[in-house]
């Protein structure tokens, strides 16, 4: 079986400015990001025949296609579970193109989460089933749900607030190098972190991602077509989704082992189909809606042993020059929170050698989607 390995490549990326509030609506922002990505690739909109996005994306295929002038579409899919679907959008396009269902795919996410409502404040529409078991008791927000796992991880493994600070700091330091990042001119200190207000103990303000308006997109084509594009191809070496047996979503408190989440499932598939191991990864873009997702993901994707995710962050491991530089554009914590799509585009920038915090000689990059929810991941190479 030929499989997906290096069969497709990301050849274009695009983004709008990021801000707490942008004047344009989500549909317009989606159009701008998609057209920027196609221009970056040197591909005309009329050549696009495949689309992939999130089920939470408000701009549907019809609206996007007729606005920007796509050709006839023969493949379109949407992935569920919020930020868990980010990498899967590219994975679905890669599968469609590798199997001949389409030839030019666009993945995108446009979201006004900065100026729009917080989803958890909607009491009429609840997440499926789990809501009745959690929300009446005041476990209202994703931050509360993840804080519950973070506290247990601290209890079992000695993970500390300093470990979570290491995550927040690495992201902020990279954002301080990235003029497009919301936190470009806002340095973070340990004192600021330790004295900031609580959101859900043990998580404080700086353990939570930004709330951002913005849109991003990328273009996926076959490896043969990629040779003719404007930029160097970034190959989709391996891709995976993960929904573990007996998993319960973000409130994964009801299976045998709540501290092994979807990352572990996605990772097994990702590495099985790769010629690389975690030791071969030069730089990683790890989904960071909340700082504890980084230690959990480091364990899940095999960068350290179970329970070692906190300790892994010590000694500048996540900084440029460390064992595993992460979120080199600033991530969801400090660049922009657009359901993790900025992590995909930043992975492409690293492998093109054009990141604002370039890891010298980076040739392999892991990109992950939301941990806790059913997730997805990409292993990219130049």
């Amino acid at each position: 079986m030929a499989g997906l390995k290096d069969a497709t490549a990301i050849v274009g990326i695009g983004q709008t400015p990021f801000a707490k509030r942008l004047p344009e609506d989500e549909r317009t922002l989606a159009c701008r990001a998609v057209l920027a990505a196609l221009d970056d690739a040197g591909i005309a909109p009329g050549e696009v025949d495949a689309l992939a996005s999130f089920t939470m994306e408000e701009t549907d295929e019809v609206e996007l296609a007729k606005a920007v002038g796509f050709g006839d579409l023969t493949f379109f899919s949407k992935v569920g579970f919020g930020g868990g679907g980010s990498c899967a959008t590219v994975a679905h396009l890669a599968a469609a193109i590798a199997s001949g269902q389409a030839s030019v795919g666009v993945a995108w996410r446009s979201r006004k989460r900065g100026s729009g409502p917080r989803p958890w404040t909607n009491t009429a529409v609840q997440l499926p089933t789990p809501g009745q078991w959690t929300r009446p008791f005041g476990l209202l927000r994703p931050a509360d749900e993840i804080a519950m796992l973070a506290r247990r991880h601290m209890h079992e493994y000695g993970t500390t607030r300093d470990h979570l600070f290491n995550v927040a700091l690495a992201c902020r330091n990279r954002a301080n190098q990235n003029p497009a990042a919301l936190m470009y001119d806002r340095p973070l200190t340990r004192e600021m972190y330790m004295t900031s207000r609580w959101i859900s103990e043990p998580l404080c303000l700086f353990d939570n991602c930004l709330e951002t308006d913005g849109a991003l997109a990328c273009v996926v084509v076959s490896r043969e077509r990629a040779r003719d594009c404007r930029r160097p191809p970034v190959y989709v070496h391996s891709a995976a989704q993960g929904l573990p047996a007996q998993h319960h979503g973000m409130v994964n408190y009801w299976n045998d082992d709540p501290l092994t989440g979807p990352a572990w499932t996605a990772a097994r598939h990702l590495w099985k189909h790769a010629d690389l191991t975690p030791e071969d990864v030069d730089v990683a873009q790890i989904y960071d809606a909340f700082t504890p997702l980084i230690p959990l993901s480091l364990e899940g994707y095999g960068f350290c042993g179970r329970g070692e995710g906190g300790a892994f962050t010590e000694g500048g491991a996540l900084e440029i020059g460390g064992r595993l530089p992460i979120n080199t554009g600033g991530g969801g914590l400090s660049e922009a929170y657009v359901h993790g799509f900025n992590l995909i585009n930043e992975g492409v920038k690293q492998l093109r050698g054009t990141s604002t915090a370039q890891v010298p000689g980076a040739a392999t990059c892991l990109v992950t989607a939301g941990e806790g929810v059913p997730t997805s991941a990409l292993l990219l190479r130049s």
Binding site: T121, T134, P136, A147, M148, R152, E201, H248, Y253
Partner: protein, 139 residues
């Protein structure tokens, strides 16, 4: 305060809770308990289920202390605690709830510094809301 938005699978849990009983769904064929409730057994695929009475004893598995921004009714009581309790008879059955000073007390009635992972707790019921709550075994 939010009341549970109940589905067909979960309804018996809330009906028993309103009567002051803690029961969890179990397979009527292979006997495995399961939570949250669902139409069939993930172990043996049987659609036959029963509602098994629990002692109401458990231990705190983890907890959080939410602070604003929150929904208004919750913000008024913040900071309060939310706990996950492992049931003594079925450690994989973990219930989200609140550790309170006594039955019917507010979400913030027990200071958060009294809470420890591993603490023994038992269930009580808030007569007004019908929701289960938890109190420390030794207070």
């Amino acid at each position: 305060m939010l009341q549970p938005i109940i589905d067909a699978d979960g309804a018996p849990f809330w009906q028993y809770a309103a009567q002051g009983e803690l029961r969890v769904q179990a397979c009527a064929d292979c006997g495995e308990p399961r939570f949250p409730p669902r139409p069939c057994c993930p172990h043996c695929q049987s659609f036959a289920s029963e509602w098994r009475s629990m002692s109401g004893q458990g231990r705190v598995w983890s907890y959080v202390v939410p602070h604003p921004p929150l929904l208004p009714d919750y913000a008024e009581q913040a900071p309060y605690n939310v706990v996950v309790v492992e049931l003594a008879e079925a450690p994989r059955i973990r219930l989200v709830g609140n550790l309170v000073a006594r039955a019917g007390a507010a979400l913030n009635s027990l200071p958060a510094d009294r809470i420890r992972i591993g603490a023994r707790v038992h269930v009580v019921f808030d007569e007004e809301s019908g929701l289960p709550q938890w109190v420390l075994e030794r207070s």
